[in-house]
Amino acid sequence: MTHDLIVIGAGPAGMSAAITAAGLGLKTLVLDEQARPGGQIYRNVSRATGGMDKILGPDYVYGRQIVAALEAASVDIRLSSTVWDITPDFCVRALQDGKALQFQAPQLIVASGALERPSPVPGWTLPGVLNAGAAQIAMKSGASIPSGRIVLAGGGPLLLLVACQLLDAGAQLAGVVETSPAENLVHAAPSLLGALRSPKLLAKGLAMTMRLRKAGIPWHKRAAGLRIEGQDKAEALSFTAGGQRHRLEADTVLLHHGVIPNTQISRLLRTDHDWNEAQLAWQPRLDAFYETSVTGLRIAGDGGGIGGARAAEASGRLAAIGAAHALGRLDGHERDRLCAPERKNLAAQMRIRPFLDALYRPPKWVIVPEGETIVCRCEEVTATDIRNSVALGSRGPNQTKFYSRCGMGPCQGRICGPTVTQILADELCVSPSEIGAYQVRSPLKPITLQQMASLREAPKEKETA
């Protein structure tokens, strides 16, 4: 063993887990793929400057104190380190500067966060079409904004937030096209009471709406039939809303339909997963201390179910406390005492979730695309190809992979996986929970044989006595 605890991911969950674990005396290692801690939500926060702080707002700047606390804690931090394999006995292999490294610990906290849900619509592979989150990352990591006319399409708090931030950064917004269907309002109504107990969050939402309204941005609601037009790059977004067809010319189209847990590592380690019908996504099954069905493996933050950055931070602390107890560093009484305020905090963060999940539930045509729409971008496999695999006898994503090559490109099914599961469920008239998901195997990210072979010269670092 090289450490007591290895934390994978230095976003809010991973950072708070590591800080808490170090505070409890655990010899802790944090690995992250990026050059600086922060994850995507606080990407580059330690380097961003005044002008962008103002545009990205206090929720972003808040992350700076967590990064500072992590850097001050006695935590072994390895950045620019991409985890490509984890063995069943928690030997964690990473690639840093082209060299393979390995570490091992009895406790593992995976905090690999969320991905944006794919928005497979006709034309979404054209240059100039990005996820809305990507535009926010461009602002965070380089104060960079799309040039020319921008149209944002989809649904969710992030869509409106990115629209406001782009506006403040001086970008040219040509329209906001919301796709949430009318019935979402009906389904969200019962959760409104719970949401009203989070007045600050609701007020933030209203403020964003007002900001866009005041700026006079063309705003379409309940849009369907989205199509991105263009030959070699995006030129326009066309859609149906209010009973007629619209066309907004655009140089950049930003898509967003919420975020879903990144389950690559929990799938690699074969933990049990459940289908979350409210969030339309898989999530690993976790206990009260974020432990999965694999003993010693915990998932903190959005990778275990979507709750947002502040909830992720609380869950990271709870997972670290759970790990310290499992290692015998805390008795049950002390563990529960430390957890109590975190649980209260977490419950407060989660109160608005059912309302948001219902209000911004993506429409069926995004979840279950049809026809020639590309689902697997890497191997260029269409929705029809995936449906046809069922006629050929496929009963699950892994069989469909053999028939069509979907999920076999460099992204390893990260983008098409959720859609393939949903299309198969639709075609076979069963729940996604009966369909399952792609098997995930090592390497988690592409690595050359030469890099893999460098492990031979890199025996496990610094064995602890």
Binding site: Q34, P127, G128, N131, I137, G142, A143, S144, P146, S147
Partner: protein, 101 residues
């Protein structure tokens, strides 16, 4: 298709080569963003049909930003920062068999 926001306060640049052509880009940017600010559209052509592609996610998920950097092939350009003297070759469809090392 990307440009610096008006809130940018550092004017520091580094020089990289893109397909052999020397290009000045803002220091500290993720390579994918630097390429997009340099007006590289598309960023690559797909290996299956040769269709034009550019980054979708900028967070290491979609692999649409793959480029060849110095001696490394198929690098996620959104996950690395530009460095003075970095040599970038754009990925144009599948690698020809004869060029395999």
């Amino acid at each position: 298709m990307f440009s610096p926001a008006s809130a940018v306060d550092s004017q520091e640049h580094v020089s990289i080569t893109i397909n052999g052509k020397e290009t000045s880009v803002r220091a500290g940017l993720p390579l994918a963003l630097a390429l997009m600010e340099a007006g590289i559209t598309p960023l690559r052509h797909s290996v299956v049909s040769g269709a034009p592609r550019s980054p979708l996610c900028l967070m290491g998920v979609c692999f649409e930003c793959l480029v060849h950097v110095d001696d490394s092939r198929n690098v996620e350009s959104c996950m690395i920062e530009v460095r003075q003297g970095m040599s970038v070759e754009l990925a144009n469809g599948p690698r020809p068999m004869e060029s395999a090392p």
